[in-house]
């Protein structure tokens, strides 16, 4: 096989992986810090995509419309997340995981109906600015120029989160809360507020990811269900709560899928589930995670 083809297939897998990372990183962060298994995460990602469409629609005609709409979608979604945390999530911190899953699944259904009421059932399409309508050629193989941005955005979010957790005071508090929320509380740090902000940050990333997704194909109902299962596979493979694990898990899923379709097209998705199941059996806390605290 030609090198240019293999490289373009690798880039396709990396793009796929970065989309999954953007969805899964917020999910993993929220679970890692708050122990909340949020099934509605992907629906908030979808809301982000719809927000991006709306902002773009208001500004269409300007070349910068898309680039402004993507972060705005993140902020709008963060506001939804903030309200959701205060109204619902904070009341289910101490529930069992299966109860959280059921409650947040119900939340996903409610959000899906709200999307239908606000944006209607019709698919939404964003026209890309002229600069990213044509492919770039890498080693002679065409590659969607927007996907360069997707890959960079994925790494930027990974880097930004890593920097936040490692070098900022709030990041240290968040990390400390993962290991001993009682101790952090005893030091006078308001844990409920920390949780609210962590949840809001996680949903900001989901909304931003939705914005990144919006110009790729159409924005439509049901996209969230398609991606949430894969996002769970990513965090299971990488390890719940591990940023590095989520990044590696996403790249593994993306690349396995991308190359599997060349040799076993009908089984590409099965292979991902096989890997996920194997990880669950051999190392239930994932490649880079730590055993769950009790």
């Amino acid at each position: 096989m030609e090198f240019s083809f293999l490289f373009s297939q690798f880039l396709s897998g990396l793009t796929y992986g970065m989309i999954l990372f953007l969805v899964a990183s917020g999910l993993s962060l929220i679970f890692g810090v708050m122990n909340i298994l949020n099934f509605a995460h992907a629906t908030l990602w979808l809301i982000g995509a719809y927000f991006c469409y709306s902002f773009w629609y208001l500004m269409q005609g300007y070349n910068f419309a898309l680039w402004v709409s993507i972060p705005l979608a993140g902020f709008a979604c963060a506001a939804v997340g903030w309200v959701t945390e205060i109204v619902l999530i904070k009341h289910i911190y101490k529930r069992e995981l299966h109860e959280q899953l059921l409650i947040t699944y119900a939340l996903a259904l409610i959000f899906a109906d709200l999307i239908k009421i606000v944006w209607g059932p019709t698919d939404r399409l964003i026209a890309r600015p002229p600069a990213i309508q044509k492919p770039v050629f890498i080693f002679g193989a065409p590659f969607d120029s927007y996907f360069i941005f997707v890959i960079l955005a994925g790494f930027a979010v990974a880097l930004g989160l890593w920097w936040f957790l490692k070098y900022t005071r709030y990041g240290h508090i968040v990390k400390a809360a993962v290991f001993s929320r009682e101790m952090v509380g005893a030091l006078g740090i308001p844990i409920p507020k920390i949780y609210t902000w962590v949840f809001t940050l996680g949903i900001f990333i989901a909304g931003f990811a939705g914005g990144v997704q919006a110009p790729i194909g159409s924005v439509n109902l049901g996209m969230d269900i398609a991606i949430i299962i894969q996002a769970f596979c990513v965090v299971v493979i990488g390890g719940f709560g591990s940023l590095l694990g989520t990044l590696v898990g996403a790249i593994i899923v993306g690349e396995v899928f991308s190359f599997a379709i060349l040799y076993w097209p009908a089984g590409a998705m099965v292979l991902i589930f096989v890997i996920t199941a194997a990880i669950l059996i051999i190392r239930p806390w994932g490649l880079f995670g730590t055993p769950m605290r009790t």
């Binding site: 026209a127 194909g217 991308s258």
Partner: protein, 416 residues
């Protein structure tokens, strides 16, 4: 005294006679023909149903301008929203029959709704015309003599696509192809049928690879790069609705459609109009009733003129088929010389009708109209503000219909 009694009897008889006449409605006013239209005006069928309704109204206006059916039964349209849901469709159609006393129902965008409504219409002896829903099962199995279909059914469309592609393959020397089909029942069965048929009609074509994206796939990038690297002569897609849109949107920035022929996906006139700027030129697409393919038929020219005058736009496939549904009914009534439903139903069986798409016949075994499917290449035309299908290959109904023996076998199997 005697003459007074006679006068009273005369006045009484006269009054009874007049009241009776008024009650019959035959002398006081012409009896209307109640026509039910139960379509998905909300839900996924909104866009196509709206277009279809407009086509129906143009036909109704034209016929009513001449006094209605048979020149004396003005058509009165009763509209209902099925929400593109079978349960709602059944409820609404039942209501149309019982409350509004409709004699015929044009229904629905969704095949699932049409299949659910069929037994209701049979039970209440009401004509049922499926104008745009095209599942073959509407007419193939669980046969109802009251149900007629004026759209090329799913088998006819798949067969038409295969025949058109086989012709293109011969003309262009195509040798290899790949399939890209959604991994669920419809995608798998359609892909299987197409591959099987292509083997028969174009044995020189080699299937290089089968790709199976999930239903609702959001990321087609790996499929796109992989297909482009394989350089097949064409891709046969079995992607529907959102998946089709997502694939096209994601493939376009790669320059995919300039390099690989994407042959067989459905792009109706609605999409050509709405997505005029973005629909990729060069797509080889199939469609059901494009007005521009039949501007040689005076009835189509007249329809386009009247439709444009009323709605200030060009008619879509769905509008054409809505219009044809009403005219099929009109010609059935004219043959029966009555609006009596049972007689009209019998008259329509095997009837040849003059429609916008030419002279077409309802096949007696299944009441399926022998209508054509149209395959062409999306391209611009200076006459229209949107792209149209060019180099159209019209695959006639007779070439694409399922053999009658297979229908008989399917019905036998159904009864077991």
């Amino acid at each position: 005294m005697k003459s007074k009694a006679l006068k009273i009897v005369f006045v009484f008889v006269a009054l009874v006679f007049l009241v009776g006449l008024a009650g019959s409605g035959k002398v006081m006013s012409a009896e209307p023909y109640n026509l039910g239209v139960a379509l998905g005006f909300t839900g996924t069928g909104t866009l196509y149903s709206k277009d279809q309704l407009e086509g129906i109204h143009v036909a109704v206006d034209e016929i009513n301008a001449k006094g209605g059916f048979l020149g004396k039964y003005p058509i009165k349209v009763f509209q209902r929203d099925t929400q593109t849901k079978p349960d709602v469709g059944v409820r609404e159609v039942k209501d149309l029959i019982l409350r509004d006393k409709v004699r015929a129902v044009i229904n629905d965008y969704s095949s699932a709704v049409a299949v659910a409504v069929k037994p209701i219409c049979r039970e209440y002896k009401t004509l049922h015309i499926a104008a745009i829903s095209n599942s073959e099962n509407i007419t193939k199995i669980n046969y109802s003599p009251y149900t007629f279909q004026v759209v090329p059914n799913s088998y006819m469309q798949a067969k038409a696509a295969v025949l058109a592609i086989a012709k293109m393959a011969k003309d262009k020397g195509w040798k290899e192809y790949v399939t890209l089909a959604s991994d669920y029942e419809w995608g798998r069965s359609t892909q299987e049928e197409v591959v099987k048929e292509l083997k028969k009609v174009a044995p020189q074509l080699k299937l290089k690879k089968e790709f199976w994206p999930r239903l609702g796939e959001t990321q087609f990038t790996s499929f796109i790069t992989s297909i482009m690297a394989m350089k097949p002569d064409f891709v046969y897609p079995c992607l529907a609705s959102k998946d089709n849109v997502s694939f096209i949107e994601q493939a376009r920035p790669y320059g995919f459609f300039e390099k690989v022929t994407f042959a067989g996906g459905m792009v109706s006139v609605t999409e050509l109009i709405i997505e005029a700027k973005t629909v990729p030129r060069g797509l080889v697409s199939i469609t059901r009733a494009p007005f521009f393919a039949h501007l040689d038929v005076p009835m189509m020219v007249n329809f386009v003129k009247n439709y444009r005058a009323k709605y200030k736009k060009y008619p879509s496939d769905w509008a054409v088929m809505g219009y044809d549904a009403v005219y099929s009914l009109k010609q059935g009534i004219e043959k029966a010389k009555t609006i009596d439903t049972d007689k009209v139903k019998d008259a329509m069986k095997g009837l040849t009708v003059d429609l916008t798409r030419g002279k077409l016949r309802f096949r007696p075994i299944d009441n399926q109209l022998s209508c054509s499917s149209y395959v062409g290449v999306v391209g611009d035309d200076p006459k229209y503000p949107f792209p149209i299908l060019k180099d159209v290959i019209e695959v006639k109904g007779a070439e694409s219909e399922r053999p009658e023996a297979e229908i008989v076998a399917a019905r036998k199997a159904e009864q077991k």
